[in-house]
């Protein structure tokens, strides 16, 4: 008999694999339900007859629909998402090149946002009163203000007016740094975009943390701890936080998908060389294969992250194992 927990993981993997397949099918449907010839979607708006012929062959566009679906699924699984005519590179290569930069942005923002968000949320829930009101208002503002506008403003203020930070890119164009200076340079360029992304998420994480801590603190075991006369509130935090943070951590995990999308948009503001810039230029060029590819990769990343978070949550929550 397979252990309950392993069963749980297997079921989750099956579920998420099925989800991924659904994504591929949805993409396929989109390609074919779109107005116009699917060839142009798969090839992009090109006029080169040779290229079009090659695309038709590669995706089997002359064959019946269900065969096309199978071919498409096979292609995707093999990593073949088509070829970008405009950039003369296979789509997958284009995306994979850009992935690290986007990840850097996403991970940095997530890290900062989680730290500060949890701190602020806990503070708000613990102190209540004026501090709570201020933090709550700030976080409400934080989720109401469009992050890309914020990024724009920050660019204008901190980069153009004050000149504190570079206006874009990941590395300086004028001088080339090596060794540790390279990393510092990247970091320097990372500040504005990461902060932009982070603020939006800090607001969300603060709200979720605050809610979770409030709920935990009203539970009986905290009241008991206080009744026992435990000295500092800090000790209580050690009790309360451990429970309160579980839903927060899962929220952060599941929110990474949203963060990914945010990163993609933020990149266009700061010309950060990640998937976002690729997306933007492809939109302008009508380079559909790249757009489709970004969609599929984006979905794949989100699915994978969700799977990991799900499994981690299963590890943390002892109730799940019994399945």
């Amino acid at each position: 008999m397979v252990s309950g927990f392993k069963m749980f993981i297997i079921r989750r993997i099956i579920l998420y694999t099925a989800l991924f397949f659904s994504v591929i099918i949805v993409t396929f449907l989109l390609i074919h339900l779109a107005p116009g010839d699917p060839t142009y979607i798969l090839a992009g708006q090109v006029t080169d007859p040779e290229f079009i012929k090659a695309v038709r062959h590669r995706f089997g566009l002359d064959k019946p629909l269900y065969e096309q679906l199978i071919i498409y699924i096979e292609n995707v699984l093999r990593g073949d998402l088509g070829y970008s005519y405009f950039r003369s590179e296979p789509v997958t290569k284009l995306i994979l090149e850009r992935l690290p930069a986007t990840f850097l942005l996403v991970l940095t923002s997530m890290f900062i946002a989680s730290l500060i968000g949890v701190l602020l949320g806990t503070l708000a829930a613990a102190k209540r009163g004026v501090v709570d009101s201020i933090i709550s208002i700030l976080s409400l503002l934080g989720i109401s203000i469009p992050y890309f506008w914020l990024g724009q403003l920050m660019l204008i203020i901190f980069s153009m007016d004050l000149g504190w930070f570079p206006t874009g890119g990941m590395i300086s164009l004028t001088t080339t740094y090596t060794g540790i200076y390279y990393y510092l340079d990247v970091l320097y360029h990372l500040v504005l975009p990461a902060t932009t992304l982070a603020i939006f998420n800090i607001a969300y994480i603060t709200r979720v943390t605050r809610g979770s801590v409030l709920e935990t603190m009203s539970q009986d075991f905290i009241i008991t701890a206080r009744a026992k006369g435990l000295p500092e509130r800090r000790v209580i935090f050690r009790h309360a936080l451990r429970n309160a943070l579980i839903p927060v951590v899962t929220f952060i995990g599941f929110n990474t998908g949203v963060l990914l999308v945010g990163a993609i948009v933020t990149e266009t503001i700061f010309a950060w060389p990640g998937m976002g810039s690729l997306l933007y230029s492809s939109l302008q060029l009508r380079d559909y294969p790249v757009l489709l590819g970004i969609f599929i990769y984006g979905a794949l990343i989100v699915i994978t992250i969700n799977l990991i978070v799900d499994i981690l949550y299963g590890l943390l929550d002892p109730r799940i194992k019994r399945e």
């Binding site: 890309f148 506008w149 403003l153 204008i156 999308v261 266009t268």
Partner: protein, 284 residues
Amino acid sequence: MKRGILIIEKLKIIKSNIRLLLGVIIISVIVSLGLLASYITWYQPLMAMEGPPYQPPSLQHPFGTDDLGGDIYTNVIYGIRTSLFVGVLSAVIAMVIGIMIGTLAGYYGGFIDDLLMRIVDMAFIIPQFLLALLIATILGPNIYNITLAIGVTSWPGIARMTRAMILSIKQLTFIEAARVIGLSDTRIIFSELLPNALPPIIPYIALQASSNVLVEAGLGFLGVSDPNVPSLGMLLNDAQQHILMNAWWMSLFPGIFLSLMILGFNLLGDGLIEYMNPRLRRAS
């Protein structure tokens, strides 16, 4: 006399609920701006050369002019209209789809529930913004396609919520009693179930609208917007394209109104949810 007291009671409730109050005020102002657009602006939207390009705010052009010399104030006011239209309409679409699916899943249970919930899981995980982007791009960037794309990608949350509400109401005995009396399924859903399940969900239209306005602006920001219709996202895109001209007014004003709109809907939604809760408690 009694009526007067009732009204005062209701006003008192609204007063104690600041969020609702603020939300109502902000949204009312925004909607008025949108409705009165043609009366409060003196230029045409999306026109070029209403004045010299890249002008900072002045009496002539309260929000300045853009790269083509168009008046930004006019574009912002008309852009508000667009955001309201797309945001609210797409929210309604999302609500309709979500409520339908949630009700079917919740009421019939079993296989239908499993199937529908798997679909909801899938819809939930797919990055909404990317999908809407893809749909809007493929269908062609006009305002109806964009509204549709956003509406069709934002329903999963509502579906889950509706299903949860239906499940909790379904267990209540008066539903069984209705069946014993001989009410047909459709009658039960519309006459007994929904009137009890839906009211708590209504405030979420506002929250959904706020989220959808953000998505619409985001799409516009990336260039996916109807070229014949002014939109705040599009204005921010312009600002981005010409950022090196240091024309901060191109970014500031559209952004402020966008934020106000999102904030207003958020407050309205939060306020309504708070408003509904004590009432429910009184009723039980």
